[in-house]
Assembly symmetry: C2
Amino acid sequence: MQAGKPILYSYFRSSCSWRVRIALALKGIDYETVPINLIKDGGQQFSKDFQALNPMKQVPALKIDGITIHQSLAIIEYLEETRPTPRLLPQDPKKRASVRMISDLIAGGIQPLQNLSVLKQVEEEFQLTWAQNAIISGFNALEQILQSTAGTYCVGDEVSCPQVFLYYRFKVDCTPYPTISSINKRLLVLEAFQVTHPCRQPDTPTELRA
Amino acid sequence: MQAGKPILYSYFRSSCSWRVRIALALKGIDYETVPINLIKDGGQQFSKDFQALNPMKQVPALKIDGITIHQSLAIIEYLEETRPTPRLLPQDPKKRASVRMISDLIAGGIQPLQNLSVLKQVEEEFQLTWAQNAIISGFNALEQILQSTAGTYCVGDEVSCPQVFLYYRFKVDCTPYPTISSINKRLLVLEAFQVTHPCRQPDTPTELRA
């Protein structure tokens, strides 16, 4: 099925890129990383070459099987359909619905509001509060949902379509979210999360490496 | 499979609610509508009863098969998995990826930025420009993507996971988007789009009915 290694256009700190890196790692798919620095050179995502690849001018984008897919969840669904083992979605349609609901809540309800392009439109002094508000309002909902869906991980005991919380970038206090926090802790120790961590990417600046 | 009719919690003007109404109509699924007025009574989505149903305090939510699903795309994926005929996603995984990429672009890249709760955080005089910027930036990308994926509709010639553009609410000039505009025109004449149109809902105010 594969013609050459898949290429992932990624930024070390982008949580949507991280989500795809985790999926690739969980499925054991070997790939090359092309780093797109969202800040350097005024933002490499705005280059003509990258825009041709992803007109949304965002990472991640994945070149695979002769096509280019962007939008992290669309990429993960494609990987799941074409490389089903090990699976990232449960077998039961109701549980699959829970996974997608949680993924959409994070990827559609929280993250878009903290994107660099959006934050730039908010006055600098309010940017942190803006990002925090989005996270807090999303986490209030997520905590409540997870209380009825979670086992070891978000939905039952299988690691599913991975979710990653970059809340620490925006200094959100997670004390009110015990379920989110404990699932996050259990995920972060897994190998697929360790090797794909923002502090361990080809484009991670030396001072942020760990 | 069904225990009673599905119940859709919907607001006539919510484009995410409309997306689910279209999916239900295309699949011929009979359902009841419970209108949630996002403005009246300070927003009925904030009521205790509704929050228990959807902690994100957003429409749509669908009660079906004994569960409640929110997030429009998660709902549509569930309908597709449990009621596969007629299908809303193409059979070919690459085309399915295109549909999901386009859906995520709209539902995750454009719509969250125009949500009532987000617009409220923007100073009133800038709200229209804010919403327009989000639509224009998304449409610039979408137009380019559709030029390579579209046939009669967004991906080839089958109506897929439905996308709906409420750009007219924010007075965006669509001249630069001939592909988006012509697909939209072709969709709007379909029966499933006609009967589910915001101007024809149980909760549509008389002055907006058509």
